[in-house]
């Protein structure tokens, strides 16, 4: 979704891009079992079992870094927090 919104990528290109960045195959992106662990490993945030894990804006810092994109709210956070 982020690659469509940020880079106008069509679905197959977007999946391929994200999969490469995560080191998985595109088909793995919809495998909730696999992604549950990958999201934890890379600090991308997840819906459940979130103890001691990045949440919300914290996770988005990691998403921006892993995907190599700018996320508006992350940039705003940096500005306002003086980072």
């Amino acid at each position: 979704m982020r690659m469509q919104l940020a880079k106008s990528m069509k679905i197959d290109d977007a999946k391929k891009y994200v999969a490469e960045k995560l080191g998985v195959e595109p088909i793995d992106l919809s495998d909730s079992d696999k992604m549950f662990d990958i999201r934890a490993d890379k600090g991308l945030g997840r819906s459940f079992d979130m103890n001691n894990m990045p949440k919300g804006i914290e996770a988005k810092f990691n998403i921006a870094r892993v995907l190599g994109i700018k996320i508006n709210s992350v940039e705003r956070f940096k500005d306002r927090a003086g980072l």
């Binding site: 979704m1 982020r2 469509q4 919104l5 940020a6 880079k7 106008s8 990528m9 069509k10 679905i11 977007a14 595109p26 088909i27 992106l29 919809s30 991308l44 945030g45 997840r46 819906s47 459940f48 949440k55 919300g56 804006i57 996770a59 988005k60 998403i63 700018k70 996320i71 508006n72 709210s73 940039e75 705003r76 956070f77």
Partner: protein, 349 residues
């Protein structure tokens, strides 16, 4: 002879034979091809569509690996205003992400129009800021250009719907052109405030609801938003499959807007700088679900083939092959989704 359960465009159930469904599919495909001057689906695609429509099981799904993402139209309002659950909207965004598993959602105001939002945007931005702090998925701000709101007595310009029956064509056109200027200014203003609040994107929803001038406002606003805030995503969604010529002479980038179907609308959205285009195909309540879905898939396939940006097909009640009923039946919704993704090659819903 075996009969299959399917539906009419108004959602009511109906049993049809295989031959009847195949005839409806063929007729729907031909209707879209004739109106849009686009290619028909191939025989293989029509056969697969028949297979999808008659698949056993109440719900069906796409093949593994063909999943797509979704955006919304007033997404955070579904829980709050529509289902009447007393919940602050940034909380509804969290529920959408963590409980409903949404890929994205848009925050919108009860009066889902940029003109209305402009007055209260200072109360909308904190909702976006809170949502952005707590969510992982992209969160957009959405509203309609809704050009009709700019007419008297609520707005500053003459009402073209009153002028047209009086034969005042020039005055009607002038009023619409003036309304476009107001709408573009309001949309860009709200987009700027939302950009400053961390929004991932702006959803220009239901462009063309008031006709070609309404669509023009969407194109011009998108152009200005991308000029001023290049990093802010823009999703531009249509109001209908066919742009009504309430003005009739308006052009964008040398192309007359009135009369455009989705495969042409998307090209202008691209030129304006939109990142995602929301294609709409209307449901005819008097025709069958197989007829409407075949027609929709034909239009969508032509749209995604022409598009260089992702296309998210509108699949709410009354559009995208979905029956026009308050609670769209899940059997029809999942069949429409599968067909639009696998045959229509939709990038999202």
């Amino acid at each position: 002879m075996d009969k299959y359960f399917t539906r009419m465009g108004d959602g009511s159930g109906v049993y049809m034979t295989a031959d009847e469904i195949k005839a409806e599919i063929k007729d729907g495909v031909e209707d879209a091809a004739r109106r849009g001057k686009i290619p028909e689906l191939t025989q293989d695609e029509m056969d697969y569509l028949f297979e999808i429509i008659t698949m056993p099981g109440n719900i069906v799904g796409v093949e593994r690996g063909k999943e797509v993402v979704s955006t919304s139209d007033s997404g955070s309002c579904k829980i709050t205003y529509h289902a009447n659950i007393a919940m602050e909207r940034s909380m509804a965004v969290l529920v959408s992400e963590k409980v409903l598993g949404a890929d994205s959602v848009d925050i919108g105001n009860m009066d889902y129009s940029y003109k209305a939002v402009k007055q209260i945007v200072h109360n909308e931005t904190p909702v976006m800021e809170l949502a952005q702090l707590n969510t992982i998925m992209p969160v957009l701000y959405g509203s309609m250009p809704n050009l009709g709101l700019y007419t008297k007595p609520d707005g500053p310009v003459e009402n073209w719907s009153e002028l047209l029956p009086m034969g005042k064509i020039d005055e009607s056109r002038a009023a619409q052109e003036e309304a476009v200027e107001h709408a573009v200014r309001d949309i860009v203003f709200v987009a700027g405030e939302m950009y400053a609040s961390g929004a991932d994107g702006i959803n220009l929803d239901t462009c063309g609801a008031s006709g070609d001038a309404d669509f023009l406002a969407g194109f011009l606003a998108t152009e200005k938003i991308k000029e001023k805030y290049p990093d802010l995503g823009v999703e531009m969604g249509a109001a209908g499959e066919f742009v009504l010529g309430m003005h009739g002479q308006l052009e964008y980038d040398g192309t007359r807007i009135a009369g455009l179907y989705p495969h042409m609308q998307v090209k202008l959205a691209e030129k304006a700088g939109a990142n995602i285009f929301g294609a709409v195909v209307n449901t005819n309540t008097k025709e069958s679900f197989p007829w409407g879905l075949a027609r929709t898939v034909t239009f969508v396939k032509a749209c995604t083939a022409a598009a260089e940006i992702p296309v998210h097909v509108n699949v709410g009640m009354g559009v995208g092959g979905i029956p026009t009923s308050e609670i769209p039946p899940i059997d029809a919704v999942t069949r429409a989704d599968k067909a639009l993704i696998e045959i229509g090659k939709a990038d999202g819903l």
